[in-house]
Amino acid sequence: MLYARLIIMRLFKAVIVLFLIVILNFLLIQLAPGDPAAILAGEAGAADQEFLNQLRERFGLDQPMYVQLWRYVSGIAMLDFGYSYRLGVPVFDLIMARLPATLLLTGTAFLISLVLGIIAGSMAAARVKKPSGSIIMALALVFYATPLFWVALMSVLVFSVYLDWLPAYGFYTVGAGYTGFALVLDVAKHLILPATTLALFFMAIYTRMTRTSMLDAAQQDYVKTARAKGLKPGIIQRRHVLRNALLPIITLAGLQAGQMVGGAILTETVFAWPGIGRLMFEALQQRDYNLLLGIFFFSAALVIVFNIITDLVYRLADPRIKGAS
C-alpha cells in the first residue's frame, strides 16, 4: 500500500520532470551551429537553394521556433517522436531497433561490474592488511584510472590481432549465416570484449566502495555484538557487514543503470556495436535533431525509472527507510 502510493507520487513527478527535460533539450539543441538541411546538402556535395528549401520545408525548419517547439511537444505527448531527418525513418522505430543491442551490452557490463566488484571488494575488506588485499586494490586503482578507449583499443590489439581469440568488432559474424544456439554463441563471443571494457571502470568503483563501506560497517557495535555471541566470521561478513554496507553501492548501481541507454558511445564506436550510443553520436554529427531528442527522451526516462527503482531497493535492503524520501 505504502509502496503503491510512493510509486504513484514518483511517477507523477517524473512526468513533470520529463516534460521540462523535453523543452530544455529542444531549446539547448537550437544552440548548436549548423542546421540539418545544410548538413544533408553538404553531404550530397551539391545543392541549390531549391534543394535546401525543400529539405527545410519537409523538416518543418522553415517555421518559427515556437511553432516547431509546439509541434514537437504535442507530438511527444502522443508518443510520436517524429522522423529522423537523415534516415527518413520514424525515430521510435530506430531507437527500438537499436535498443536490444545496447541493453545486451550495458546490461551484461552492469552485471559483470556489480557482481565482480562486490566480490572483489569483500575479498579486499577481509584481507585488509594482507598482500592479496593490496593487489586487488592496486588493480582496482589501475582500472579506475585507465581511459576506456585505451582499454578498448589495447584489448582489440591483444585478443583479436595478436592472439586471435575473439572477434575485433561487430555484433555477429557477417555472412556466416548462424542460427539458433550457434548464433547465441557467436553473439556472446562478440560481446566479451566490449562488455568487459565497459565493465572495468565501474567494477573498480564497486570494489573500492564495497571495501571502504564494509570496513566502516565492521567497526559498528552490532558487529561486535554478533562476534560476542559467537557467530562465525563468514556469516558476520555476509549478514551483518555486507548488508549494511550495501546502501552506497545501491546508489551507485542506480546511477550506472540510468546510463544504460546512452552511456556506451565510446565502446559502441570502437567495437562497431550497433547500439543507441552510436546512433546518438551520429545523430549529433548530422544535426539530426528529432533523432537526438528522441534518444535524450529515452535516456532521461530511463534515469528517472532507475531512480525510482533505486529508492525501492533501498527500502528492501534497509527496512529502516520508510515513507517519502
Partner: protein
Amino acid sequence: MKHPLALAISAAALAFTTTALADAPQQGGTVNTIVQPEPPGLVLGMIQNAPTRVVAGNIYEGLLRYTTDLEPIPQLAESWDVSDDGRTYTFHLRENVTWHDGEPFTADDVVFSADVFHRELNPSARAVLQHVESIEATDEHTVVFTLIEPFGPFLLSFEAGTFTMVPEHLYAGTDFRNNEHNDHPIGTGPFKFANWERGTVIELVKNDDYYEEGLPYLDGVNWHIIPDGGSRAVAFENGTIDVLPSGTVENFDIPRLSEMDNVCVTEEGHEYFSPYSMLWMNNREGPTADKRFRQAVMYAMDREFARNVLWNGLGKVPLSAFGSNARFQDDSLEPYDYNPERARELLEEMGYDGEEVTILPLPYGETWTRWAEAVQQNLREVGINVRTQATDVGGWNQRLGDWDYDLAFTYLYQYGDPALGISRTYLSDNIAKGSPWNNVEGYENARVDELFNEAATAYPDEEREALYKEVQEILHEDVPVGWLMELGFPTLYRCDVKDLVNSSVGLNEGFRDAWLDR
C-alpha cells in the same frame, strides 16, 4: 622525390596488367568491404552522397560509363548519335534489360527519370537539365534529348551516380521520398539489394538476370559498417575485410597496411570526380581580400611537403584552377612553386600589418587536421599571423555558408569538364549564402563570368578551348582560392580480388567486373 608507396602503386599496376591477361575470371565468392559513414539510404537519384554512391552504384545504372580517360562507353545505352549542330542527342538503349523485379527497362523509364524524378529531387542533374529543352521517347528503345543550345559537357553527365535510371513503374505518381520501395531499391545493375542490418552490414547479391553475359562473377558483396577508423584498419589487417575503399582508413595507416602480404594499392578509379582540394580565401574582407595576400599564401605553402608526408606521396600538386584530369587544361602557366621569399615580398608590398587570419580545417579526420597545422606553420614562417579553429561538420558547413571565415580547407569534385565542376567555384551568379559548395570565396569578375558562360555553350571543342585558356590566365593571376592538391585516394585490396577498378568511378561500380582468384 617519388614516395615508396607511389612506386609500389606503379609496380602493382604493371603486375596487374600482366596477370589480368594470363588468367580467366572465376565465378563465385563473396567480397567483404566497408562503407563509411553509413549511408542515409540507397536510392541513388534521391541521395547522391559518397557512401550511397559507392554501394548503390552496383544496384543502379546510368546510360553511360566512362573509362579512366573519361571516354564514354555503353552502359544502359548501347550507342548514341550527336547531331551536327550539337543540340540533339539520340540514345539507343539495350533491349534485353530488366529491372530487378522482372519488369523490362524501356525508354519511358529514361524520360521519367530525367524529366520528372531528377528535375524534382536532384540538384546535380538539375544543373544539367536546365540546358535541356525536351526529352522524348521516339520508340521503346530510343530517347532523344534536345538542348536549348549546345552544351559541351553533355555527354559527360550520364554517370550512374548523377543521372541514375529509376523504375517508372514503381515511382510514377507517388510521393518519391516516402515511396515504399525506398527500403528495397530496385535497379538494373549487376547486384541486387538483399539486406540492410542497420549499423552492421549492407548485403548485395548477384543479379542472375544481368544483361551482360557471364557478369557479375561474384555471388555477393557485403558492405560492413564500422564507425571507428582504427577498427576498420584492424578488420582489414585480420582478413575480415578484402577491400578498403579510399577514405575508409586514416592516411597514416596506409603505408603499414599496404606493406602487408597480398595487399595491392591503386590510385585509379577517381578520374570522373578528380577530387581537388582547395583553400577558400575570403575575397570580401580582411587581408585575404587583397590579391597579393592570396598570391603570397600560394608561394608560402610547401605543397610538395604536404603531398609527400601527409598524403604518402599520392596525388598531384596542381598548377592552377583546372586540374590535370579536367578537359582544356592550359599547362603553360607558371606554377606557384614554394617560395617564401617571394611571399614575404608580396606581403611587404601590400603593407600587411599582421592582422590575425583564421584557418578552418576540414573536419574529415586526422590527415586534414595535420595538413592545417602544416599550412599554419608555412604561413607563420612568412610572417602571417594565423590561428587554427576547430569545428565539426555542422559547424564547418555553417561557417562557410555564412561566409564567416578567412581561410578554410575543402575539396570539390571536378566531374571531368570545367562547365560541370570548375566554373561553379568562380561564377559570380553562384554566390549565395547557405551552401558550402558554391562560390564561397565571393570572387566577382565580369570577364570570367562571360568567358565561362560562353565556353559552356560554345561548339565545337576548339572554340571552347580558346575561351578556357583566357579564363585560366585570369584566375591564375587573381588566385580567388588556393589550389592545394589534386587528391590521390588510394584503394587497398587483397591482390586476389581481380579487375576491381576498371572505370573512372572506380569502386562505385567496381564489383560488376571483379572476381576472386582463390
